[in-house]
């Protein structure tokens, strides 16, 4: 049987299923818009009325309508990852090089933990306002004691110290479990950080990378010869943030995302000093927004062509510096920028893939 047929079946079956339940979703949204609220939906998604108010019924329905296409895209993406994992173009980094990449990742955390703690301490003063996002409120219903948070930061530091200072090897149990503990510490700290009705994307690629770092270390322990696969997933955790962000732009705004009006909206939301000069040049806003979209949508090429990491890293650097200089969002010290280092296809490589890989 052709190996692509199961992918096709899963894709089409999911599409049909979503198509069949679509009307139910559309009806629920319409009822909510007419004030006939569904308590279950409110519980799952309490900020939905605000969303309805800001986006309007038509756009919300359009969004629901898109889900089946998003599904197809995801299946296609998974198919792409699967078929290109064993690409002959993928050079395999050697063990030492991979270990240093892990150490570097924990070194990056050391840079940002003090700042995260500073932010959390500030929020501690305003803890009376603590209103975690709906899902998070089940995990952290009240603002935790500042002592607990201090301990968590110290533990997170200790995890970093372990990876940087100790002579660990990937075949041991300890590194993977310690990384998992560190990931949980970061999770709690970020949940507190998000505890004022919003998601903050400052640490998005770092946290996403951390998810895959834990998987990588567990996989590496089980298959010591195949640490490079986990590393590729870790990289996917970083470039995936850009790729899916680009997809969202296409799905939610489509071609309208690339327009002077949208650039004006962004400038209105985030007035930076370079906004006016850029808006005064014809077609420059469109050009810049197109470049952003192209950069984000092409990041997935790194899976097939590792040298694309240079393009993503340089593109990402320019992107983050631009959002800082033009829109005053983020900064030169953004953790996103440091995480780009891991996309560079540098480090010593083994000549061929280790045995056991096809």
């Amino acid at each position: 049987m052709n190996k692509n047929i199961p992918w096709l079946i899963v894709g089409i079956a999911g599409f049909i299923l979503l198509f069949l339940v679509e009307n139910m979703g559309l009806r629920m949204v319409e009822e909510m818009a007419n004030g006939q609220s569904d308590p279950m939906l409110f519980r799952l998604y309490p900020s939905f009325p605000i969303k309805l108010q800001t986006m309007g019924l038509e756009r919300v329905q359009e969004y629901l309508f898109q889900i089946k296409y998003r599904w197809l895209l995801l299946i296609g993406f998974t198919w792409f990852l699967s078929t290109n994992m064993e690409s002959p173009k993928v050079a395999v980094p050697d063990l030492k090089s991979l270990q240093w990449k892990v150490r570097l990742f924990f070194g990056v955390q050391l840079v940002y933990l003090p700042d995260l703690f500073k932010e959390i301490t500030l929020r501690n003063q305003w803890k009376a306002f603590y209103t975690p996002l709906p899902f998070f409120s089940k995990i952290l219903p009240t603002f935790p004691s500042i002592w607990l948070l201090q301990f968590l930061v110290v533990f997170a530091f200790a995890v970093c110290a372990f990876f940087i200072l100790s002579k660990w090897t990937p075949s041991e149990k300890l590194p993977a479990w310690i990384a998992l503990a560190g990931f949980l510490f970061w999770t709690v700290l970020l949940l507190v950080f998000f505890g004022y009705s919003k998601i903050d994307h400052t640490y998005a690629s770092l946290y996403s990378g951390y998810i895959f770092m834990v998987i990588w270390l567990f996989y590496w322990k089980r298959f010591p010869e195949e640490g490079w696969i986990g590393f590729r997933l870790f990289q996917a955790g970083i470039w995936g943030c850009y790729f899916f962000s680009g997809l969202e732009k296409v799905f939610l705004s489509g071609i309208h995302w690339i327009s002077t009006e949208h650039f004006q909206t962004l400038c209105w939301l985030h007035p930076g000093t370079l906004c006016e000069p850029i808006l005064s040049v014809p077609f420059l806003p469109e050009l810049l927004l197109t470049l952003v979209l192209v950069f984000q949508l092409t990041t997935f090429l790194q899976w097939r062509f590792p040298w694309w990491g240079y393009v993503t890293a340089i593109g990402g650097l320019i992107f983050h510096l631009s959002t800082w200089l033009v829109l005053d969002v983020g900064g030169w010290q953004s953790p996103w920028i440091l995480m780009l280092v891991f996309l560079l296809p540098i480090g010593k490589k083994t000549a061929t893939k280790p045995s056991g890989t096809s």
């Binding site: 998604y45 900020s47 605000i50 969303k51 800001t54 986006m55 756009r59 969004y63 889900i67 998003r70 599904w71 995801l74 993406f77 998974t78 990852l81 699967s82 994992m85 500030l122 929020r123 305003w126 803890k127 009376a128 306002f129 996002l133 004022y196 009705s197 919003k198 998601i199 903050d200 994307h201 895959f212 998987i215 996989y219 696969i229 986990g230 997933l233 996917a236 955790g237 995936g240 943030c241 790729f243 899916f244 962000s245 969202e248 732009k249 799905f251 939610l252 705004s253 489509g254 309208h256 995302w257 327009s259 009006e261 949208h262 909206t265 962004l266 939301l269 985030h270 959002t323 969002v329």
Partner: protein, 124 residues
């Protein structure tokens, strides 16, 4: 080989679930990256909280970009005109400040609001 197949699924799982279901879930997202033209004018930016301290009125600020520019205005908008919410807001503000303010008021530049400011503490 089976393990590897599971790993392939991991990337779509981590990113895919939000992509499928939850994207743009948070209307107060600061950067507006996802929204494009879908984002209308943020009405709550027209609202603010002011406190009377040491003989003069000043805007309530936490010296944090998000809290100052988004969260406090949003709280002001939500509480404006609703007695119960206003009382809750007063308690939160007073619990957060070391030096307690003499008065607290909400201001609105919104054309739709019937009054431009409301003294919510002390209660009349």
């Amino acid at each position: 080989m089976v393990m590897k197949k599971y790993l392939y699924l991991f990337v779509p799982l981590v990113f895919g679930i939000p992509f499928l279901l939850l994207a743009d879930l948070f209307p107060l997202h600061r950067y507006g990256m996802f929204s494009g033209l879908a984002r209308p004018e943020i009405v709550f930016s027209q609202y603010s909280i002011h406190i009377h301290l040491a003989g003069k009125w000043q805007k309530l600020e936490a010296e944090n970009e998000y809290l100052d520019k988004n969260y406090f205005p949003m709280e002001a908008m939500r509480a404006f005109g609703d007695k119960e919410s206003e009382n809750k807001l007063v308690s939160k503000i007073r619990a957060s400040l070391r030096v307690k303010p003499d008065s607290i008021r909400l201001e609105s530049d919104s054309a739709s609001a019937s009054t431009t400011y409301r003294i919510i503490f002390p209660q009349k």
